[in-house]
């Protein structure tokens, strides 16, 4: 990285330091629609600093090779870089390297667990995997606010095994509480799967209490950490979750790589979902024996340069400091929620102002469809997400087909938030919605 924030780690991120950080992100320097780009869609995909881009290129220019095979020098260099990346990511989330499984993305990571449970139910994985086997009537609990990635795989497990999918309901703001979960989790619950931070509402789940609730009935906890790991300190060991999933591209890293972190005793027992090359010890024409975790889950050629770049992204985040990232984004969220809430005809979903939320806000403009809102804002260089954000059940519950979402990151400025607020203020007049409402 090109700046040196280390001497300021005790201070909050201020405008001057954010300006320095922004200089590391070439994509943010451009204009869109004749205005400086205000990228407020990091919740969908984050931008990458030059150091991350450089790390991937450097690896490809000097070390690129197949990992865990071959006797030549590059094979050794690539393997070393690949495994060092695993160590770096593991340290970042409070885990051991053997607990980190590379996946294609977070969706893939959740599918790895879900299909592992189905395979165990079918008797795969031997005696060790029986702890994962589901019986008809066993319950998988999710929340009404889940991203489709943490909902649809569980629907598949239920359909395949006879388990029952149960849902923790949300209130009119899309918010759910520990008490709501406690009312659904019961003796038959075998899995509790939920987002650490909602990608729509920004709600931060009380993970430790939910883990205690789930473990109290012998259920596994699967944490969708896609919106938490990039934006706040996360220690999976301290949280006590059984599995956690997150994506590289939401945390300044590349697409095509995600992470599943699991408790070692569970990863060692979970049946492999994908099989083939690179994950075996001995293969005959009829049978095969598999490597221990994490390699057991990494069949086929792995995203090696992406892993190297993701580790560089982690180093960038660590240099800034995750506590400071969280504080910066929470302050921006407060500004967003307060500002949007003050605009006539604008309704913000999620926790009300004053209640902790991650650095994003989804909102509805009365009388104007989210697609039109997003298009109008784009004409001012404001990049926001519109649609159901892969959470159709939540939007159905909120009574809307779509919302507009502004999401922040460490490079987002208060000026950009203010530009968004000014932009949203003009939406209803442009579309003639003031007279209708």
């Amino acid at each position: 990285m090109t700046h040196t924030p280390h001497d300021t780690q005790d201070e909050p991120l201020d405008d001057a330091e954010v300006a320095l950080l922004r200089a590391d992100f070439p994509i943010l320097e451009q204009e869109v629609s004749g205005e400086p780009l205000a990228y407020l869609d990091s919740g969908a995909t984050a931008q990458r600093p030059r150091s991350v881009l450089d790390a991937e290129r450097r690896f490809l220019e000097t070390d690129n090779s197949a990992v865990h095979r071959g006797a030549h020098t590059l094979a050794a260099l690539a393997t070393e870089a690949f495994e060092e990346a695993r160590e770096t990511v593991a340290r970042f989330v409070g885990a051991q390297p053997a607990q980190v499984v590379w996946t294609a993305n977070a969706t893939d990571a959740i599918n790895l667990v879900a299909h592992g449970l189905t395979a165990a139910t079918l008797g795969r994985g031997g005696e060790a995997a029986r702890r994962f086997a589901l019986r008809p009537g066993d319950e998988i609990v999710v929340t009404e606010a889940e991203h489709h990635a943490n909902l649809v795989p569980w629907q598949e497990v239920a359909a395949s095994t006879g388990a029952v999918l149960r849902v923790v309901p949300v209130d009119d703001d899309g918010v759910w509480t520990l008490a709501d979960a406690a009312a659904v989790v019961g003796e038959r619950t075998r899995v509790l799967a939920f987002a650490h931070v909602s990608n729509v509402t920004g709600l931060v789940a009380p993970v430790e209490e939910l883990v205690a609730l789930a473990h109290g009935v012998g259920a596994l906890v699967v944490l969708d950490a896609c919106q938490s790991v990039p934006h706040r300190p996360v220690d999976v060991t301290a949280l006590g979750v059984d599995f956690a999933a997150f994506s590289g591209h939401k945390m300044l890293g590349p697409t095509g790589i995600g992470v599943l972190v699991g408790r070692s005793e569970l990863l060692d027992a979970l049946p492999a979902f994908r099989t083939g090359g690179s994950m075996i010890t001995t293969v005959t024409l009829q049978t095969a024996e598999y490597l221990p975790a994490p390699q057991r889950f990494e069949a086929g050629t792995q995203p090696v340069s992406q892993a190297v770049a993701l580790a560089e992204a982690v180093r960038y985040l660590e240099a800034v400091g995750m506590d400071r990232v969280r504080e910066h984004e929470e302050a921006l969220a407060e500004r967003l929620v307060t500002g949007l809430g003050a605009l006539p005809g604008v309704r913000v979903v999620g926790p009300p102002a004053g209640v902790a939320r991650s650095g994003l806000a989804s909102f509805v403009v009365e009388g104007v469809h989210a697609h039109d809102v997003g298009q109008y804002l784009d004409a001012q260089g404001l990049a926001v997400r519109v649609g159901h954000h892969c959470a159709q059940p939540l939007h159905r519950r909120l009574g809307v087909a779509a919302t507009t979402r502004a999401s922040t990151y460490l490079y987002t400025t208060t000026g950009e938030v203010d530009r968004l607020l000014a932009g949203v203020a003009g939406v209803r007049a442009y579309f003639g919605a003031e007279a209708v409402a």
Binding site: H371, Q375, A379, G387
Partner: protein, 149 residues
């Protein structure tokens, strides 16, 4: 606001998005078709009634929820469809589709397309083309079904 945005949201479109001709139920429809845009959750149901004993559209009504582009294009369609035969409908949808895929090239025929020429500007916004096409695709499916009956 930028000229580019105004070329997308022409006044005709904004007016139709609010006035919404043909919005409502159509009892005794001869055909109906439902279309969805999974990326944004927009959906629309188009219903068509024929003049008795003919293949000529008597009335088109629709119900749906979506952005101003998809709602306005359904409203325009409700004005254009009545009086046309199924063959003419298929031709009209084809012409509209061609215009929507033009990326702003060419000059649309306003004699044929009427208010639908206002959507020529939408063709420059590739992510919105599907919004504009939603009701037209639904009508096309109705016409295909009726022609086969």
């Amino acid at each position: 606001m930028s000229a580019s945005l105004d070329s997308l949201y022409q006044q005709v479109i904004l007016d139709h998005a609010k006035a919404r001709h043909g919005d409502g139920e159509l009892p005794h429809a001869d055909a109906e078709h439902h279309e969805r845009n999974p990326t944004c959750g927009d959906e629309i149901t188009v219903r068509v009634a024929l003049e008795p004993g003919t293949d000529r559209v008597a009335e088109l009504r629709w119900q749906g929820a979506g952005c101003s582009i998809s709602m306005a294009s359904a409203s325009v369609l409700a004005d254009l469809a009545p009086g046309r035969t199924l063959g003419e409908i298929t031709g009209l949808v084809g012409e509209f589709r061609e215009m929507m895929r033009s990326r702003g090239a060419g000059e649309p025929d306003d004699e044929r397309l009427g208010d639908a020429v206002a959507f020529h500007g939408v063709s420059k916004f590739v992510m919105r083309v599907k919004c504009g096409m939603l009701s037209w695709v639904a009508l096309e499916a109705c016409a295909t079904e009726l022609a086969a009956a």
